[in-house]
Amino acid sequence: MARRRSQNDKTDASRVPRVDRRQPWAIIYYETRDGSAPALEFLDECPGKIDAEFLSVLDAVAGAPPPQFSGGGKWEAMHGNMGGWHEIRLTGPSREQFRLFCVLENASDEELLRRGLTKPAIAVVTGMRKPWRTKFSENDYSRVRRLGDDHKANHPRRIAR
């Protein structure tokens, strides 16, 4: 009897997910309550070359995450009201500006598992584009932050699958 319980304990323990700290990190996409994924919708609407470049930067950063230098100078930590965020900055045809907004999911093993993550991750939240030499408004950034707040409020995270 005691022996059987011991085997069961071992089996149950092996079912508990473990956190894999090896690189690359995972890349995940935030999903809204209604099931849409703003970042994926943004990427799907980007010119193909821009989509390809975004994926290349994401893969580079996932392979050598902060504080290492990676992303070819196109990955940048944001400041001010957007502190805690990272953006990928790309220039497209006619100098149109493309931005992808991300947050890092890196915490203790226990906290990552609470978020449903078995490894640290780059969470891609949403993207925006604008003509050359124009600025995003504070409302634009507020919308990005609201999506990020919703993402971070979910345990486990709600991500596109």
Binding site: R15, V16, P17, A26, I27, I28, Y29, L40, G48, K49, D51, A52, E53, L55, S56, V57, L58, D59, A60, V61, A64, P66, P67, Q68, F69, S70, G71, G72, G73, K74, W75, E76, A77, R89, E110, L113, R114, R115, G116, L117, T118, K119, A121, H155, P156, R157, I159, A160, R161
Partner: protein, 119 residues
């Protein structure tokens, strides 16, 4: 603690799907080559700095920059490192930036990408 592990494979699956498009694949591979070159230069400069036992603050002093700009550069918290800054850092570390021709096979494939065969 949640024991529910989320499926985090969508990015890989989407990338694999998009890579079936030759134009997408070419753009992805070109971007990756460019990113790797930049990343390698910055990381090698930082490794050289560490090997020399030079602090970021000391390096900044030697090239008349503030320490935070050097710190931001080496941690990718500021984007688009400029070539004059890279050259100045290399010089302060007793190194230099060079352009090396690719191996012949690699150069040929680059030329083929630029000059598609006539129909």
């Amino acid at each position: 603690m949640s024991s529910t592990a989320l499926d985090m494979s969508l990015h890989e699956r989407r990338r694999a799907q998009r890579m079936k498009d030759p134009e997408f694949r070419a753009a992805y591979e070109r971007a990756t080559r460019e990113i790797e070159q930049t990343d390698q230069v910055i990381r090698e400069l930082d490794a050289l700095r560490v090997d020399l036992g030079m602090s970021k603050a000391e390096l900044a002093r030697r090239i008349n920059r503030n320490a935070s700009s050097i710190r931001r550069l080496f941690t990718a918290s500021s984007s688009r490192p400029e070539l004059p800054l890279i050259a100045a850092i290399a010089d302060a570390l007793g190194a230099e930036v060079r352009v090396m021709p690719k191996a012949p096979a690699s150069r040929r494939s680059t030329r083929q990408r630029r000059e598609p065969a006539a129909a």
